[in-house]
Symmetry: C2
Subunit: 509 residues, 2 copies
């Protein structure tokens, strides 16, 4: 029987804001090894920063926004996972596109490497320097320029925090087409640079569809105004897509326009317990059919994933233990209609025996509590020590099989192997947690996970991107001709290779 | 009062299939002037076809798919609008990607220019040769390879006709994310190459969001396998977007994977009469708010547009005459819920006085009849003689103003000036019809329409693309830095410039 959420405890804490967790996590741990040592990378043929460069940057930004104090820079040198660490000595905080342009012009002429950084919540080491790249933090480029309420369009600088944008547009009856766990810290510019997926992709599609216009600065400082405030614009090559998902290696995004759908009036979330992956898949397919246009999220959580989130954050599950859980969300314009659809769907699925137990609610705080169980998983895993994270697209018919296979491969070496993620988008998050980075596990897991994914013609990076950590595995998802074209593009856009070097493109080239 | 559609006459004919109209239209008219004469274009530095080239093509395709008979090629040399005409002497019909690759390899080494052609329903002269380019027709590359019903994904060759794909996936409970008037003739490859918009964009978004994978052949014959059958794939640069909307100038699309949403069980269409553009805008905004997730199309039709479609095709309007009409469509998973939403919305709008009259139906043939009134407008205008067609994105606050302005500019020279289009996407189709091409009208209309659009920061081509007819106006929507990058890309991808020359990029460069 599914039942209302009245019985859920109120122990849930609000952890939407990643920053606090991140900070407490980072301060409680030793710094990771320097990337150059752990991964034996060779520094590119770039110049080293001189005093004259610092003076030049100070003349552009004033000294308050040109930071050289080592301890002030430290957190910008280390990634969120504690997996990679650079040793940049200059952190720049521009406020305008023109400042970004002047900085890049200088770096390009001096052959100084640059790492542009958003909220630094990336999971593949793409957002921190590998060596001593100049860090270009976008955090002060956080102006919301305009919201067109009629057309549903937001125009803002790239350093705006996703959650702030959501608040801003929701006051105007709209919502952001993207939502993810790191919303309290991540920048919209970082989301776009990495083509972040997240929790609403099932409903609103990806950023290639939702970003209407981009302003970006090329490596040589040229400002590219590719802004369009319209959903349709077929004037020449669709250049903005060069910057979506290229992780800051082809240019620095400074401004963007994004389509914002009408906010839904009603929301329902169901948290369901299931016996097997087969039952879960059946339930998902029934949800697509029965809930149709109001289905807005469909998240698989396996028992290990729920365990880690409840244990690490002292959360309570609203239902008892099952091998699998499914979190379903609907968003619609009519609460009564939505509730009827959800009830009919759940009743039929329980009658078929697909769902064993479950709970459903439309109340704001209950909905938040159920989401918290899902959204806490990534950081809960990090709290256990070190996490090997894999983010893969797999056919639904073979979606979960890799989790038990991996469990067997790593055996007792790991604390846990778990799988969760966006089954609605065929996107599995496979995680292996251990007390600290462990080369033995590393070798058992990689490249096996990529080979496995490649055999099923899956994607070795569904949403996290390639960053630094996955460059050498790119070949498992990209053909040689495509890699060649990537290199040609990089050379054309950034002939000196100063933008986010050692990232995205395979290093052996 | 709105009322059911029982009173509508049954005079409507099915004109979904563009081909029959096109053929009867073309055969009833004299051929247009050769493009090179009418537009005084200079032939590029390409080789001319020799007998040895023909022999080579025949060795690849056999003679039955290498056509050199002048009368057989004629209809491939003339565009749908009768606005442009080339004089190609070779028409090739490959069936496989390898054949396309071998053909392009030869053309590139010989510096033979190539015009790839889908269903030839484009409206900007992009799909026919300007001079004697080899025509590469994709019409025999029409295999449907695979439908993944669980994930909602279709994989097919690029020469598949959109309507056939719709039929194929609808038998499997899915629908195509794109629909347009030319569906009976246009190819999915042409849709993707031109980033076609159409009638469902409001609901399902654009092709950049919906195309999951592309296989394309580069100018030098290299086959690029950028296929992905997943909604999420962040492995390296998102190269497929280079081919979406670049109108065959950067490569030839041979295969693709596209996301297909679950087909809606219920559909409602309302055809409404309104007094003013203001009332129409108010009604659209209320529809967005009240119909939310089930709103699937929102089309403005002005009185002149409805007149031409009813007159030319002997159709009957279901309501009496008004200055404006709004065609609203909803698609959803629950007929009862949808009808309730639509009724509530319409009643409120009528009570406010925004809607003066209207009719609504969920019956298949009535729905088709109402759509026919809208979908017949483009071809009805062509039947009047020659049409100057403009397809612009404009802010909703100034959306319709250009129509009366243009009416005054051309005065009695035109048969009619009318405006219709996708108000839901801020996309207006402005048309000026006359008995035949008229230089006097041409000069009154262009570049005025582009200057006007540019002043409002609109797009001079919302969905039709640039093709041949709009290359010199691209500057009104693209900054010089963007044009430079376009040229760099073209040079990188197609150094000999053999792919669809004289198109998209400004000719004076």
């Amino acid at each position: 029987m599914y039942r209302p959420l009245a019985s859920i405890s109120n122990k849930f804490r609000n952890i939407n804001n990643f920053s606090s967790i991140e900070r407490s996590y980072q301060s409680s741990k030793a710094l990771p090894d320097l990337t150059k040592d752990r991964y034996a990378v060779q520094r590119g043929d770039f110049s080293e920063i001189k005093n004259s460069d610092i003076k030049h940057f100070e003349s552009i930004l004033s000294s308050s926004r040109c930071i050289t104090d080592k301890s002030d820079i430290e957190s910008y040198n280390v990634d969120f996972l504690g997996a990679v660490r650079g040793y940049s000595q200059v952190l720049l905080k521009p406020k305008t596109t023109e400042e970004v342009s002047t900085i890049l012009q200088h770096c390009n002429s001096r052959k100084l490497a640059v790492c542009s950084q958003g909220g630094n919540t990336g999971l593949v080491g793409g957002s921190v320097p590998v060596f001593d790249e100049v860090i270009l933090s976008m955090q002060l480029m956080n102006k919301i320029e305009h919201v067109d309420e009629m057309a549903g369009i937001l125009v803002c600088q790239s350093g705006c925090i996703l959650e702030k944008l959501e608040e801003h547009v929701s006051e105007r009856g709209l919502c952001m087409p993207i939502d993810l766990g790191a919303k309290g810290t991540c920048h919209i510019g970082g989301n776009v640079s990495t083509n972040a997926g997240g929790l609403r992709l099932l409903r609103y599609g990806n950023l290639h569809g939702n970003v209407l216009g981009i302003e970006a600065v090329k490596a040589d400082g040229t400002i590219l105004d590719l802004m369009s405030n319209f959903k349709k614009d077929n004037t020449g090559y669709h250049l903005k897509h060069l910057f979506i998902g290229s992780e800051g290696t082809l240019g620095v995004i400074t401004k963007l326009a994004i389509a914002c759908p009408t906010a839904s009036k009603a929301k329902n979330v169901a948290f369901l317990g299931l016996e097997s992956y087969d039952a879960l898949l059946k339930t998902f397919l029934a949800a697509k059919r029965d809930l149709g246009e109001i289905l807005s999220a469909c998240e698989l959580i396996d028992s290990e994933s729920l365990k880690v989130s409840t244990q690490q954050y002292n959360l309570t599950s609203p239902i008892s233990e099952y091998p699998f859980y499914l979190l379903l969300e609907t968003s619609g314009s009519n609460a009564e209609h939505d509730e009827e659809k959800v009830s009919n769907f759940l009743e039929a699925a329980m009658n078929r025996g697909d769902i064993l137990d479950g709970t459903v609610s439309s109340e704001g705080n209950k909905v938040a509590q159920m989401w918290q169980l899902r959204e806490s998983i990534p950081t809960a895993l990090i709290k256990e020590g070190y996490v090997f994270k894999y983010d893969i697209s797999l056919p639904l018919s073979h979606f979960y099989e890799i989790v038990p296979v991996m469990r067997e491969r790593v055996g007792d070496l790991a604390i846990r192997v778990c799988g969760y993620g966006h089954i609605g988008d065929s996107n599995l998050h496979l995680n292996v947690s251990c007390t600290e980075f462990n080369d033995n596990i590393y070798k058992r897991v990689e490249p096996f996970v990529y080979e496995y994914t490649s055999k099923l013609r899956g994607s070795i990076s569904a949403e996290h991107g390639i960053g630094f950590l996955k460059t050498n595995y790119l070949k498992y998802s990209k053909q040689p001709e495509a890699l060649d074209l990537m290199k040609e593009l990089k050379t054309m856009m950034d002939p000196n290779g100063i933008l986010n070097p050692y990232k995205v493109l395979p290093r052996n080239t």
